[in-house]
């Protein structure tokens, strides 16, 4: 979360660390694959196992993605519902 805000510049462009970007991408990939495999939304533990990281880290990445999402469309509260809209 903080990691993202740190990269907001005066011009409003958002830069986030390459690592966090990759982690967010991996999280979405893993989520989609698991969803496809089990036919329903994966559990936090399943996602953590798939990504080979602790649950706390998965939560962190979800927060970062969340924050990024809010920044991209501050006036669209619907955007935060991305995870449930599948």
């Amino acid at each position: 979360l903080g990691e993202i805000k740190r990269y907001i510049r005066d011009d409003g462009r958002i830069k986030i660390s390459r690592q966090m970007k990759m982690d967010i991408k991996r999280l979405k990939q893993a989520r989609d694959e698991l969803y496809y495999k089990i036919g329903s939304s994966p559990k936090l533990s399943e996602l953590a196992e798939e990504m080979d990281m602790p649950v706390e880290r998965v939560l962190e990445i979800m927060e970062a993605d969340d924050a990024l999402c809010n920044l991209q469309s501050i006036d669209d509260p619907e955007s935060v519902r991305q995870y449930s809209s599948e």
């Binding site: 979360l1 989520r31 329903s40 939304s41 994966p42 559990k43 936090l44 533990s45 996602l47 649950v55 706390e56 939560l59 979800m62 927060e63 969340d66 924050a67 809010n70 509260p77 935060v80 519902r81 991305q82 995870y83 449930s84 599948e86």
Partner: protein
């Protein structure tokens, strides 16, 4: 009541995101699905932003009280309370699209979202005293470790 927490925070809009994070962290122990986490976070956001925007009229000096619990049956409760202006007509406030805010800014869908993302929403409020929103949700019953 297997586990419970109580959080008090200032009515600052930055604390909406704190509340989401804290609640997700608390319920992560129950190993919810990604979808359940998103539903919980969104519901908390709606209730907390209501307390800040409507209850305290965006004054940053109010205290929002957030209480969460879960039990052996994976039934979770989330209560969001403010001591702000209160709601005159609760039934009306809960109607979809109803808002006392400016229609350009507010969608009037907060309560509708909470209702659709949880199993039960209870609102108690008194004018000049404040508002409490209690949400109850049963996590996936077929869960096994």
């Amino acid at each position: 009541m297997v586990n419970k927490i109580k959080i008090e925070f200032l009515s600052l809009s930055v604390n909406e995101s704190f509340a989401r994070t804290a609640v997700a962290g608390f319920f992560s122990e129950l190993d919810p699905t990604i979808e359940e986490i998103a539903e919980i976070k969104t519901s908390v956001s709606e209730a907390v932003s209501n307390a800040i925007i409507h209850g305290y009229k965006n004054q940053p000096t109010g205290i929002v009280t957030l209480e969460c619990s879960y039990d052996e049956e994976r039934k979770i409760t989330i209560s969001v309370e403010d001591t702000g202006v209160g709601i005159e007509d609760i039934e009306k406030a809960r109607e979809p699209l109803f808002t006392t805010g400016s229609p350009e800014e507010r969608a009037g869908m907060g309560f509708t979202v909470m209702e659709s993302f949880t199993d039960h929403v209870e609102v108690t409020s008194n004018l000049g005293e404040g508002t409490r929103v209690l949400m109850i949700k049963k996590l996936d019953a077929g869960y096994e470790l």
